[in-house]
């Protein structure tokens, strides 16, 4: 079964389904797989969440008029006027009906005004609640971060490595925390000198002479989770063009430390 799941995840079918590029038969197949395998479902949901986030990052605000028109169209479709039949015999109670309509109109207006007030209050309360929720979320995140950080630094399996700058960048200093047991690497980049905007720091692992990318190092992010590379003999810090490189620019190696 494990192999089957692995095959599904690597087949590219989920990606095609996500992008709406599947046949109806493939749609049914994917929907069946999502139902059958929790791992496949979780994987797909994560993919959808990333896809949505990417979409939201690209957002372009449409003109307000589109929203107005949309809501107007929906309202119009629901409230098509219906003309009422009239006859002479009904005329005698028309003034009473008119009075009642006016009275109802006035009452409705008053109730409407009151309702508006209540809705406004409700909105304020909701906004306040949202702010509180947001503060709570932030505090929880902070707490989690502290816990994660304490756990990593306090773990006897975590080793601390200093990456001191060489002649190219004598003031540079970064601290790597490596936990081989949990396969985690965190880099404290706060003491690295600022770089021009067209350059980034990048961390590399040396595995039997081959440099493998451990990730970009953005000084402003402070503590960064880097990729753990199995069999790494050393960590090496280079200065690369902004966005990083596929291979390290060895002439820009500013620090390295053996693990």
């Amino acid at each position: 079964m494990k192999q089957e799941i692995k095959d599904i995840l690597e087949s590219g079918l989920l990606e095609q389904y996500l992008l709406g590029d599947t046949t109806p038969a493939q749609d049914a197949q994917v929907q069946g797989l999502l139902k059958k395998y929790t791992i496949v479902r979780e994987h797909f949901q994560q993919m959808e969440a990333d896809f949505e986030r990417m979409g939201l990052e690209q957002a372009v605000a449409p003109p307000i008029s589109v929203r107005k028109q949309l809501m107007q169209t929906i309202n119009e479709k629901e409230t098509d006027p219906v003309s009422a039949p009239t006859s002479k015999s009904q005329k005698w109670y028309l003034p009473i009906a008119a009075t009642l309509v006016i009275l109802m109109g006035v009452t409705s207006f008053l109730v409407f005004q009151k309702l508006q007030g209540v809705q406004k209050d409700l909105k304020l309360v909701e906004e306040k609640n949202e702010q509180l929720q947001s503060s709570l979320d932030q505090m929880t995140t902070t707490l989690l971060a502290l816990e994660t950080q304490n756990k990593l630094m306090g773990d006897p399996n975590t080793q601390k490595y200093l990456l001191k700058g060489n002649d190219l960048s004598p003031d540079a200093l970064a601290v790597g925390y490596v936990n081989h047991k949990d396969r985690k690497v965190v880099l404290d980049a706060r003491q690295l000198p600022d770089l021009p905007t067209d350059q980034d720091y990048q961390l590399w692992a040396d595995v039997e002479g081959v440099m493998i990318n451990m990730g970009l190092v953005k000084k402003e992010d402070g503590f960064l989770a880097m990729n753990y590379i199995t069999g790494a003999e050393s960590m090496n810090l280079t200065i690369e063009p902004a966005g990083g490189s596929e291979h390290p620019t060895v002439s820009n190696l500013i620090a390295n430390v053996y693990l």
């Binding site: 990417m54 990052e57 995140t141 994660t148 960064l224």
Partner: protein, 185 residues
């Protein structure tokens, strides 16, 4: 108070709640408009398509099934198809009306500012991954059409898409951990 999820909102839309549709519009119209406008390459047409798409969401709300995928996935497909159809119909119309004009009007140039500029994690992807995602996400191409544009075999193109989505995952994961650790200090 926690914001209702899109699934809760869609359940409300299925019951005819217009406010819920408005909320969905407020949350997602920007992201969907970005896709539509890049396919249509015409602001006026894109606005019509956006409105038409949300009308379809309103009318076809009953067809939405959260077990088959998230709201955004569903809405993205619906908007992309609506945009592709509108673009096709417009081309047909122009072609029928006046063939000599068609050549000049095939791709109107009144693109909104920044429509080509990629933002966020997408802009951090490797160039070939970026291009692959752009073709299927923004241009509305199928994998079969897109691999020809990139001039790579279909299998390679599929791998590009897979790798691109994994790269996105990596970027988002790293950014979340960095934020958490940064706030922790």
């Amino acid at each position: 108070m926690k914001k209702p999820s899109e699934i809760q909102l869609m359940l409300q839309v299925q019951k005819g709640n217009k406010l819920a549709l408005g909320e969905l519009y407020d949350r997602y119209s920007g992201a969907l408009y970005a896709v539509i406008i890049k396919i249509c390459r015409d602001e006026g047409l894109a606005q019509d398509v956006l409105q038409e798409s949300f009308l379809k969401i309103w009318k076809k709300a009953g067809q939405f099934d959260p077990d088959k995928g998230a709201f955004y996935t569903w809405a993205f497909r619906l908007c992309r198809n609506t945009a592709l159809n509108a673009k096709r119909n417009k081309k047909d119309l122009i072609q029928t009306e006046d063939l000599s004009v068609y050549k000049n009007r095939e791709e109107p140039q009144n693109n909104p500012v920044d429509s080509e500029k990629l933002k966020g994690a997408l802009s951090q992807l490797s160039e070939h991954h970026q291009q692959a995602l752009k073709l299927v996400y923004f241009e509305g191409l199928t994998h079969r059409e897109a691999h020809q544009v990139m001039d790579v075999p279909l299998g390679t193109f599929k791998s590009y898409i897979q790798q691109a989505l994994r790269e996105l995952r990596g970027i988002y994961k790293t950014s979340i951990i960095s934020i958490i650790l940064m706030i922790g200090l």
